[in-house]
């Protein structure tokens, strides 16, 4: 069963790096990239070119982006009853205490600060994969359809 992850990241290099590291660790992941907050919302609401977008099992969200930043995306997703159940992992280079607290207040499911070094970044992705993609029970659409 593929795991659909929406990565919201404006830096192309960062997006590619994450895609490479993650695909080495977990072959089941299908990574979709939105390059800013507006595109992320369009993806989640099947708008524009995203008519056939899957509902992601997980969102990886950068904070500082053009057009619409990550905190605004968080606020919108977590106040939308249809989208609020999708876990959001903030993944940012910001170590700011304000960003951390603000993210948790807006109901981010967890906050990860991206380390600058590649080795540490790889071990972060490994830890993320081990917890979120192998231990956590994510909401599954097929199960959900039967339950609602």
């Amino acid at each position: 069963v593929p795991i659909d992850i929406l990565l919201v990241e404006d830096n192309e290099g960062d997006a590619r790096l994450l895609g490479e590291v993650l695909s080495e660790i977990n072959k089941d992941v299908r990574l979709h990239v939105a390059t800013d907050g507006l595109e992320a919302i369009a993806f989640l609401r099947y708008q524009g070119t995203h008519l056939d977008a899957p509902r992601p099992d997980l969102i990886l969200l950068d904070l500082h982006m053009p057009k619409m930043d990550g905190l605004e995306v968080l606020a919108r997703v977590k106040t939308d009853p249809w989208l609020a159940t999708i876990p959001i992992i903030v993944l940012t280079s910001s170590h700011s205490e304000m960003d951390i607290v603000q993210s948790y207040k807006l109901m981010a499911n967890c906050y990860l600060a991206k380390p600058a070094e590649l080795k540490q970044f790889e071990s972060l992705v490994r830890s993320l994969n081990d917890f979120w993609l192998t231990k956590v029970t994510l909401r599954k659409e097929r199960q959900a359809a039967g339950a609602v």
Partner: protein, 156 residues
């Protein structure tokens, strides 16, 4: 990196609140965390009412520490896990506390409801001891060494 382990383990022991009514499961969870890191303090509340008293430092819990995260069972007497979640997430002082559902239930309705109520994640308790120990190890590796947890002094 500000991950929990790097901000002064000596000054502040890692505190977990386990909300669980089964004595066997409490013992098992405590042992698994001790195995991973003996300095982790596992505080126990036996039902939702006790959990809220602990978190609000009421009654016998005046000196209770603020936990780094909460492991919350769903089905318990007096006040169940869903009710605890609702109260936590409606309380400005407690809503940022990471709360993980840890239950034997695999019912899709329980899973969806927990995410609707903004549980940080949903964990099905494995029956096999070995798998349970791996789960505890993964919680430790991820939440205590990788994640940036909200700092208590900035929460209120």
């Amino acid at each position: 990196v500000l991950a929990r382990r790097e901000i002064g383990e000596d000054a502040m022991a890692i505190q977990i609140l386990l909300v669980e009514d089964s004595p066997g499961d409490v013992r098992l969870t405590k042992e698994a965390f001790r195995e991973v890191d003996p300095s982790i303090q596992v505080n126990v509340a036996n039902d939702g009412v006790e959990a809220m008293e602990f978190l609000r430092r009421e009654g016998a819990y005046v000196h209770a520490p603020r936990p780094d995260f909460i492991l919350l069972d769903l089905n318990m007497p007096k006040m169940d896990g869903r009710e605890v979640l609702i109260r936590l997430k409606a309380d400005p002082g407690l809503k940022t506390l990471p709360t993980f559902i840890l239950t034997t239930s695999r019912d899709a309705r329980d899973i969806i409801r927990s995410y609707e109520l903004q549980a940080n994640c949903y964990l099905c308790k494995p029956v096999e001891l070995d798998a349970f120990e791996k789960l505890v190890r993964s919680i430790n590796d991820f939440w205590l060494t990788t994640v940036e947890l909200p700092r208590p002094n900035l929460n209120n």
